[in-house]
């Protein structure tokens, strides 16, 4: 714009799970100098083509002189925190030959080891973001055979884990978001949308605030999201489910469910009217085995799908002359003249004791506040209202309760997620305009069509594909090290399931194997990409102790870091602005994405890479060729492993399976396949078109944001509030484990309940110190964490401009502490303190502020680096060093929680 030698190159940014967002890189005389929003997409992108702060760091990320500038091989054969790797630069040929040699050895020995675990393990960084940068590497993984993706780098701890599992189970919501254009009231329990919602989340929320949406933030410290909220409620850490139970009690009993509920929704879209027998299972028709409902019209019992059913009874108990219950392992309980209670009646009985007074005493919030929010919630739900979307009249229920990560992880998360969803259910505020919506799916299939994943299953619910727990099909011998199929039925068995199993357990079990369990072995080859488990995982010293024994580690490396310190070879791949890839955008995939378009966007080199790095697609092709899998690799690409099949009746862009292709050739064909597929044969655009235009979009109807029309069309019900199947599956899982002498998962099994009991879950975390021989009363502070938009998942802690600008946001330079408490301890801003838990201590500076509970400390994001350039000078402590890897803090879904009790002591000079 300013001079004639400036060009603007379109590309995408997917450094966090909110996106991909579209941008242009300003290139001056062949050198990228600036980043701009892609205003070509202003009318189609939900945030008018904007990108967030991280994208503006990409130019510096590319030219960072601290990068690993060529492949390197370790000279020091010893590995350890105290062992300098003694890196020696090598050519790409040598580096790839070495990796291929190690991979080929595996293929000769057998893909699984003697214990039964894959010899190849791969650990990827945050939440699927690496896939947007690793070119065709997925095709190589797809044809390899068994790979262990279950060695965690923070998964299950740093995500919305229980929400992921139960969200998909209940309403195909891997991520739950509010329908911002319509929502009137959001009650957020630590959901940090201003940091975690990405550009679209921030934009949509700002618009909603401008039109009057109310946001209440319930969390121990006043986060950046709390800053723009209308009200902050400083709740005691990890007591959120108690608050939610208090709200649910208020709505049911004090406000009166008869008055506030969406009766039609409960009757026809939930299992509320299902009759439950004395053993806790649905009463079923003895012949068809279908669940029974009492029809208040005609006082008759009918199956849930009986066309004569007119008025399902929500409350009460009814006498059924003949019925069966089906328990675990298909045990049948036959009944005559049995009394069945509706599931809703059982909910009422269950919730009776959870009063606001009970809740307030635990979560340290005035019961009147709990009552008020319950009232505001049901009032704003506007039961009975409707709105027309794309010509279709839909219920309008503009209320949403959102949960943060520590809330939806670890003990108490099931209760929090259940109570939240039941509150939404009560007023019919699920998957309709204004309510909570699923944004994406990761466990169910097809991955890019959430509505299509809703298929008719048994008992009137959508089909579920839980990992088997019956005696015949249960996977007694884990096939990967976190045993997701063995321990976690709800995590299913798709390509994301390994990462969502209990991914911290392999590290724990390598060092502390439990009884009657195949001890996880070190993989022969461990490949790591865009991840740094020694920073992002709990108890990094234990992880270091594990990986020092890994025989061969290949690390795709941007800079030297704490984990690749242990590697045998460093492979510096082309980073964000240097490589080729076509990626899906739009629709409702990924977090906070609600588009009226869907399609694909290109990632392309904006200039010649400044260092001796290599495109990931070329790396994958070279490795496939070297290990003799080129044919299979090309065939996998032809078959659509990268998102679009290269041959259909419409077109044929197939790769010759025997030929080696350059990255541009492969992506050109994928561009053509994508545009032909999306346009149904009207447009064929290759790489040259995408280089100029950046993205290709087709319309996506807003009504597709909502599951409700599909549920109605398929006559399906949400499996709420009563978790009959979950309870039965839990009992089966317990039997299987006990049959194999495994008792160490018993506490986790208790979580599988039809109506979850609630209690003060913070006590579990208070008592963790006892496991390590310490007394709970030694530790008087809760240490929790909060997210930094400037850093999350970008693999950019080594980019100094992000450190520079993020320093203006509280917490990026020091651990946050209540000012009055700090003063009483004689502390001032910037003073150094020791923060100590039962397993270790870290050193850092304090920032004293008012917006935090007196009993809470907040350590932002994950720092504490000692190798990574730039990051190691930021001098922020990492709470992960204080949090143990322990079964005691692992819940039934296999997740833990980012909080720990600590004490604070001033550093004495």
């Amino acid at each position: 714009m300013k001079t004639a030698d400036i060009v603007k190159v379109p590309t995408y940014c997917y450094q966090c799970v909110c996106g991909p967002d579209l941008l242009k890189v300003v290139v001056k005389d062949g050198v990228p100098v600036a980043v701009e929003p892609n205003f070509d997409a202003a009318e189609m992108h939900p945030a008018a083509g904007r990108v967030c702060v991280k994208a503006y760091g990409l130019v510096q990320k590319m030219y960072n002189p601290n990068r690993v500038k060529q492949p390197m091989i370790r000279q020091n054969k010893k590995k350890g925190l105290d062992q300098d790797p003694q890196w020696a630069p090598v050519s790409w040929e040598e580096a790839l030959d070495l990796v291929a040699e190690k991979l080929s050895e595996i293929r000769k020995k057998g893909l699984v080891d003697d214990v039964g675990y894959p010899r190849l393990a791969v650990t990827l960084g945050g939440a699927g973001t690496p896939q947007a940068y690793f070119g065709t590497l997925n095709a190589l993984f797809a044809v390899w055979g068994p790979i262990d993706f279950s060695l965690g780098s923070g998964q299950g701890v740093k995500c919305y884990h229980t929400e992921h599992l139960f969200g998909e189970y209940w309403h195909r919501a891997f991520i739950v978001a509010h329908d911002a254009p319509y929502t009137r009231l959001v009650i957020s329990f630590g959901h940090n949308d201003n940091a975690a919602g990405g550009v679209t989340g921030v934009w949509r929320n700002a618009e909603a605030r401008a039109r009057g949406m109310k946001w209440v933030q319930v969390e121990p410290h006043l986060s950046v999201t709390g800053a723009t909220a209308d009200e902050w409620i400083p709740i005691k850490p990890k007591t959120d489910p108690v608050f939610l139970y208090g709200m649910l009690h208020t709505a049911l009993f004090e406000l009166g469910w008869e008055k506030v509920a969406d009766h039609e929704f409960l009757k026809w879209r939930t299992n509320s009217p299902y009759l439950v027998g004395p053993n806790g299972y649905y009463l079923r028709d003895p012949v068809s085995r279908k669940p029974l409902i009492w029809d208040a019209f005609g006082d008759a019992v009918r199956t849930y799908d009986d066309r004569r059913l007119r008025d399902p009874a929500l409350a009460g108990e009814y006498l059924v002359d003949k019925a069966v219950e089906i328990g675990p392992d298909n045990e049948v309980f036959e009944h005559r003249d049995v009394v069945g209670k509706t599931a809703f009646t059982l909910l009422l009985e269950h919730m009776k004791k959870y009063t606001p007074e009970w809740a307030g005493g635990i979560c340290e919030v005035n019961p009147s506040t709990i009552r008020r929010l319950a009232r505001e919630f049901v009032e704003n739900a506007m039961v009975g209202a409707s709105v027309v979307v794309d010509g279709v009249k839909l219920p309008l229920r503009p209320v949403a309760i959102l949960l943060g990560k520590t809330v939806s992880n670890g003990w108490g998360a099931y209760q929090a997620v259940w109570a939240r969803t039941v509150l939404q259910m009560l007023v019919g505020a699920i998957e309709v305009p204004g309510s909570i919506l699923g944004v994406t799916i990761r466990l169910n299939r097809p991955m890019f069509d959430r509505l299509e994943s809703v298929r008719v299953g048994v008992d009137g619910f959508m089909a579920q594909y839980l990992n088997p727990t019956d005696g015949e099909k249960w996977e007694a011998r884990p096939k990967v090290r976190n045993a997701y199929k063995t321990l976690s039925p709800l995590v299913l068995d798709s390509s994301w399931s390994q990462a969502l199993g209990p991914a911290h357990l392999p590290w724990l079990f390598m060092k502390h194997p439990p009884e009657n369990w195949p001890t996880p072995t070190p993989p022969d080859v461990w490949i790591i990409y865009r991840t740094n488990p020694l920073i992002s995982g709990w108890n990094p010293d234990l992880i270091a102790d594990c990986i020092k024994n890994f025989p061969f580690i290949a690390a795709f490396a941007y800079t030297h870091d704490e984990t690749n310190w242990f590697a045998d070879v460093l492979l510096p791949d082309n980073t964000d602005l240097e490589g080729w890839q076509l990626y899906r955008v739009g629709g409702t995939s990924y977090q906070e994405q609600f588009w009226n378009y869907m399609g694909v966007a290109i990632r392309q080199p904006v200039a010649k890479p400044p260092y001796n790095t290599m495109d990931m697609t070329d790396i994958a092709t070279e490795l496939a060729d070297r290990i003799g899998l080129l044919r299979e690799y090309n065939t996998a690409i032809n078959n659509g492993v990268l998102g679009f099949r290269l041959k259909t009746p419409l077109y044929d862009y197939s790769l010759d399976p025997e030929r080696k292709y350059r990255a541009e050739e492969i992506w050109d064909r994928i561009c053509r396949a994508a545009t032909m597929t999306l346009s149904n044969g009207r447009h064929e655009y290759g790489l040259d078109w995408f280089k100029k235009n950046g993205f290709y979009l087709v319309p996506y109807r807003q009504i597709n944001w909502y599951l409700h029309p599909v549920m109605v069309a398929k006559r399906l019900r949400y499996e709420l509030p009563y978790q009959e199947k979950v309870a039965r599956v839990g009992l089966e899982l317990g039997r299987r484990l006990h049959e194999h002498g495994i008792r160490w998962w018993d506490a986790q099994l208790e979580e599988y309940s039809a109506l979850p009991e609630c209690h003060d879950f913070s006590k579990i975390f208070e008592k963790v110190s006892v496991v390590f021989g310490r007394k709970p009363e030694e530790y008087d502070f809760w240490l929790v964490t909060t997210r930094s938009m400037q850093y999350s998942w970008g693999a950019n802690v080594a980019v100094p401009v992000l450190a520079d600008v993020s320093s203006h946001v509280m917490g990026h330079r020091a651990v946050m502490m209540n000012e009055d408490v700090g003063r009483r301890m004689g502390l001032r801003d910037g003073d150094e303190v020791w923060i100590e838990s039962a397993i270790g201590r870290v050193r850092g500076r304090v920032l004293l502020r008012q917006g935090i509970r007196p009993d809470t400390l907040v350590a932002l994001q994950q720092f504490g680096h000692w190798v990574t350039p730039v990051a190691k000078d930021i001098n922020l402590p990492n709470m992960n060093k204080l949090v143990p890897l322990a079964l005691e803090t692992t819940d039934g879904t296999g997740s833990g929680s980012d909080l720990i009790k600590v004490r604070v002591e001033r550093v004495r000079r």
Binding site: V33, A34, V51, P65, V202, A206, T228, Q850, G851
Partner: protein, 212 residues
């Protein structure tokens, strides 16, 4: 007449610093120099606390104290209200830095990049790469505005004619336009949302308005 100005919607701003970094990149400012930034502010006492984000930059005052103290006439004001620095005349004396009540002026002491003395290729091409020993500040991306007007574009509406901070904002918290035009978006916002300005008691008559 035209008087360029900006409205900052504090209810929308989330303190993400996207405007801060977009400005840094576009103008090539070195580390610790912020022609604009967003302050993270907390007021009140626990538990009655309010946190908010306050974007700050040169206020392009109608009566700029920095201009009157400049001994070399390097600081100037255009007819459209944009206060700018003629770097060829600036001697880096720092009077203007002391005079500015908004702390919006930044002295560039040496040619230092984000990787210390090693300047990356993009840093070498920074518009400020040869500006050492001078005071710098936000100029409302005056080159973009001039380019836009020369090409029939409307500042505040067309991105190519609009300051980068406004273009980059992910919350639509920044609006740019002509304060003298009663029909402009900035004038409408100021009117309808009771726009206010900072430190008006200093007699500066700033061109940045805030709304809530």
């Amino acid at each position: 007449m035209t008087r360029w100005g900006m409205v900052v919607d504090l209810r929308r701003c989330v303190g993400c610093q996207t405007c801060t970094i977009a400005c840094k990149l576009d103008n090539g400012t070195p580390p610790n120099v912020y022609w604009r930034l967003v302050r993270d502010v907390e007021i009140g006492r626990y538990p009655s606390v309010k946190r908010f984000f306050l974007p700050l930059q040169c206020m392009h005052c109608a009566d700029p104290p920095c201009l009157t103290v400049c001994p070399t006439t390097a600081t100037r004001k255009r007819g459209d209200g944009i206060v700018y620095i003629d770097y060829s005349k600036c001697i880096g004396c720092g009077y203007c830095i002391l005079a500015c009540p908004y702390e919006a002026r930044w002295l560039i002491k040496g040619r230092k990049g984000f990787f210390n003395n090693l300047l990356t290729e993009p840093e070498k091409l920074s518009p400020l790469s040869d500006k050492v020993g001078v005071c710098t500040k936000c100029d409302f991306c005056v080159d973009r505005i001039d380019y836009g007007i020369a090409n029939g574009l409307k500042p505040g509406v067309d991105p190519d004619a609009t300051p980068m901070c406004v273009n980059s904002c992910i919350a639509k918290a920044l609006v740019f336009g002509d304060l003298d035009d009663p029909n402009s978006e900035v004038s409408r916002l100021i009117r309808e949302k009771n726009g206010f300005r900072l430190l008006t008691e200093m007699g500066t008559d700033p061109s940045i308005y805030y709304v809530w």
